[in-house]
Symmetry: C2
Subunit: 511 residues, 2 copies
């Protein structure tokens, strides 16, 4: 049944070793199917001669043997291994990697700091709505910062410190004192100040790596954030500060029990968050956004982009929509046709000044029109609820959380009451105006769906006209589509309720 | 991407014309992807000469032209058309069907009453846990009753009355009077009494068709039933009576607003439910169960069973599990291995008298072990919740509602607290003992999963022994599986909590 292939990326970092497995469809759409990490903290197995110790090598080998088993079982056909700061700096890296190859069969490429920065950037540029931003990828022993303009990498630098090394060098006890923190901040500032492109920006700082993920997770727990996604989770500077103070106030023995904090990170999280704070203050930005996609995803994306010969995904959102449509066996011809009809209705009604929505809203309608049907894969009964569930829980990259919720509401639209019911858990993320917009676009989408009920594209196009106090919907095509014309009749009432003018349906046969 | 094929069944009934479309995988697993009905009430277009009138023919043609569009758009490769009572009795059936073929290309087979009964039985026997029962399929103009013993059809009869014809013949006003109902009951009884196999049974009456579905839907609304499935929904006789009285008490103009009642059925529902009551009383059974699968599914199943050369699906539940595994890209080798390990643990622990569960519980563990991973297709994060959601909402045939909820709870098990949280909406269907059982089997399943964490089958088998006051888990295989042995360690605490004895893990290497 599986016509695609399984690929994996292994990332040997200074804090943890991780594997991510992807399933890749024939047409190139891909998604993560498994991942695993072992925190071995390789950066602490380096001796005075800058060599990885025998104990460190053994720890790595034990983990990689496990990963080898995972890859064999899943019939992974291609594994890309990359190693970062600790291996990059180790004097014995060649012997180290040769031994790994001999004992596990995995080949590792040692990334330069520049490459490490590039792959993080690549993940952010291809999975988020970011056009202008700084990205920061905090590893165990290095930190990469990139300046992104118009989705392009403009400047980048790999700093020689990370959450593990900063903790080890500056913090003695389990809770850092004021002086220790001040010393760390001064050291980091001295490093940052050497890069003149690293300043005066109101663009967000987009964070990757375990520190950023844990920071957002803790914050989501603190405020009982309702939307189940870390990816592209935004925080204001004062929110970052509040998590920092929460952590700082914990007695060491209670640190482990902070909700959202991973146990293996409890001892290095403070240095990591302090680093984020320091960078934000230095740049002058007030917004931090977490990217759940990082180095590993960048490495995987590069191999995909090479194959399709493109520097970046042209349309991040549409790429995600395609993955969705593949997974849930959507009839693409129909989905595209519903999109065309929905956008025609949107534009037609807009020209008559019955609404004043623009590009951001039509983008949501576009996504919703392609995905409205995915819930059917779960059950034909109450399929709109299943569409909503899937769109809330499956990552749709390139959209904000608010946009993801709105697209889900529009796609699953079945009337105002059900809209409100589905939206209820997420109301803290939506305004009254958002709800009104979802209601309006929902009506337009259900009309477009009715106009292709038989999925046969018989209503080829629609035009909307105003004749005196009536709105006339001209449906055009080759032969009269009974079922569609019957189905659209039922929406006249809803249209009138939305736009306060009666709707008349006319069939126009092509001669 | 789609390697399977689309098939459709059209059922030209006396009340409505329906199409069901199925997607069929290469390996034979199939599921419904779309259905549509138009209530044209063909039985009312029959003239004094027992001919279907020109108006009736036109109504049917209009609907079938719509269905033709649906089939073309979906690239349906095979359509099976069947016609029932009204066409069967029509004098002009040959001209009628010829004209349909000429104008729509659809061929219809006219089913005999016996065949109609058989197909309904086939659907029930292959999609429910039924072994001994009567089935009743109430159509517009005929009603088929079948006596099922050990999943085999023993007796069957097609009665010449249905919900539409009984209404027309016995009820004058919109609310039937006592005399009218009495006359109808007496007529039906006189028909039933002629079949000596139709009596003295404590087996349930399994109902198919719109009357049965609407009856259950109304009851589910009345009691705010939490589980979202009509299929195999059981009702006691007094519950059938309570719905009947609810309907009887409605003023005619309020009938349409009874929650769960379809508008097109409002005028014939009373005769239908009264028929069910009368049959139950005649047989002497106190249990009514609705089957959401009926004639159309039986017709489709027959073509499948012919291809695999079997009279019945050998294992209804496993067939459903296979469809699930296909849809959600489960690694089958791994799933089967987890099942083996889980069942070994179940038996091993049972032999030590640490639990006393038997075949019904091991069946639930069996299903759960194969499906625990399906939620991963939605998101790796919180995948246990997605597994639960899918198992609750996708039809798993051959199980009762209670069993479906329990299998979902075991499959998504992540500890007692989360079990209780997920079970909360369904607590009216579960006992305290059920919750305890799900907790115990959940622990065994998570242990089995840990024992194949790399999905590579390295822990080939397990044995459970008691040595003094310790339980020893012997894990056997060819080479030491580090990740699995590490993963299983984490379950020692949970095991102890469940079974009140410490667990020791031992690795036994095959020599």
């Amino acid at each position: 049944m599986h016509m695609g292939s399984y690929n994996a990326v292994i990332d040997m970092g200074s804090n943890s070793v991780r594997i991510v497995m992807y399933y890749e469809e024939e047409d190139g759409a891909f998604y993560e199917i498994d991942n695993m990490k072992q925190t071995i903290r390789l950066s602490s197995y380096v001796d005075a001669e800058q060599c990885i110790t025998e104990q460190g090598i053994r720890e790595v080998l034990a983990v990689l043997r496990q990963f080898r088993q995972l890859c064999s079982a899943r019939a992974v056909s291609r594994v890309i291994g990359v190693a970062t700061a600790t291996v990059r700096r180790a004097k014995n890296r060649t012997e180290f990697l040769t031994r790994i190859y001999q004992e596990t069969g995995f080949r590792f490429r040692v990334l330069s700091g520049e490459e490490e920065a590039y792959y993080g950037y690549l993940a952010v540029a291809n999975t988020t709505p970011v056009t202008n931003a700084f990205t920061i990828d905090i590893g165990g022993a290095s930190t990469e910062i990139v300046n992104v303009k118009d989705r392009k990498l403009i400047n980048s630098y790999s700093f020689p410190f990370g959450a593990v090394t900063l903790t080890r060098e500056f913090f003695r006890g389990s809770i850092p004192g004021k002086v220790e923190m001040k010393e760390m901040i001064e050291y980091v500032r001295a490093e940052l100040v050497r890069h003149d492109w690293l300043m005066n920006s109101s663009h967000p700082l987009v964070g990757m790596g375990g520190t950023a993920r844990n920071l957002s997770k803790i914050h989501q727990m603190m405020i009982r954030y309702p939307f189940p996604s870390l990816h592209y989770y935004p925080m204001r500077k004062y929110e970052v500060d509040s998590v920092f103070h929460l952590l700082l106030d914990q007695a060491p023995e209670r640190m482990q029990s902070v909700q959202g904090l991973s146990k293996e990170r409890a001892d290095i999280i403070l240095a990591g968050v302090l680093l984020i704070k320091t960078v934000m203050e230095h740049i002058g930005t007030t917004e931090f956004v977490t990217s759940n996609k990082g180095l590993r995803d960048g490495v995987h994306l590069e191999s995909y982009l090479k194959r399709v010969q493109k520097p970046l995904l042209e349309d991040v959102v549409q790429h995600g929509v395609n993955v969705f449509m593949n997974n849930y066996k959507v009839n693409r011809t129909h989905a595209r046709h519903v999109r065309e009809l929905a956008l025609s209705l949107f534009e037609g009604v807009k020209k008559l000044e019955l609404h004043s929505y623009g590009a951001p809203e039509s983008k949501l309608l576009d996504v919703a029109a392609q995905l409205y049907d995915i819930g059917r894969s779960i059950n034909l009964r109450e399929s709109h609820r299943h569409t909503f569930y899937l769109m809330i829980h499956v990552l749709l990259p390139g959209l904000t959380h608010r946009e993801r919720i709105l697209a889900a509401l529009i796609a699953s639209y079945k009337g105002t009451k059900r809209l409100q019911e589905l939206a209820a858990p997420y109301e803290s993320l939506l305004s009254e105006a958002d709800m009104q917009m979802a209601d309006t676009l929902g009506v337009l989408l259900t009309m477009a769906r009715a106009l292709d009920r038989t999925e046969s594209g018989q209503v080829k196009a629609v035009r909307v006209q105003r004749i005196r106090d009536e709105i006339v919907l001209l449906c055009e095509g080759g032969s009269r589509p009974e079922l569609e014309l019957q189905a659209i009749e039922e929406y006249r009432k809803k249209f009138r309720k939305q736009f306060r003018l009666p709707l008349v349906i006319r069939w126009v046969e092509y001669s």
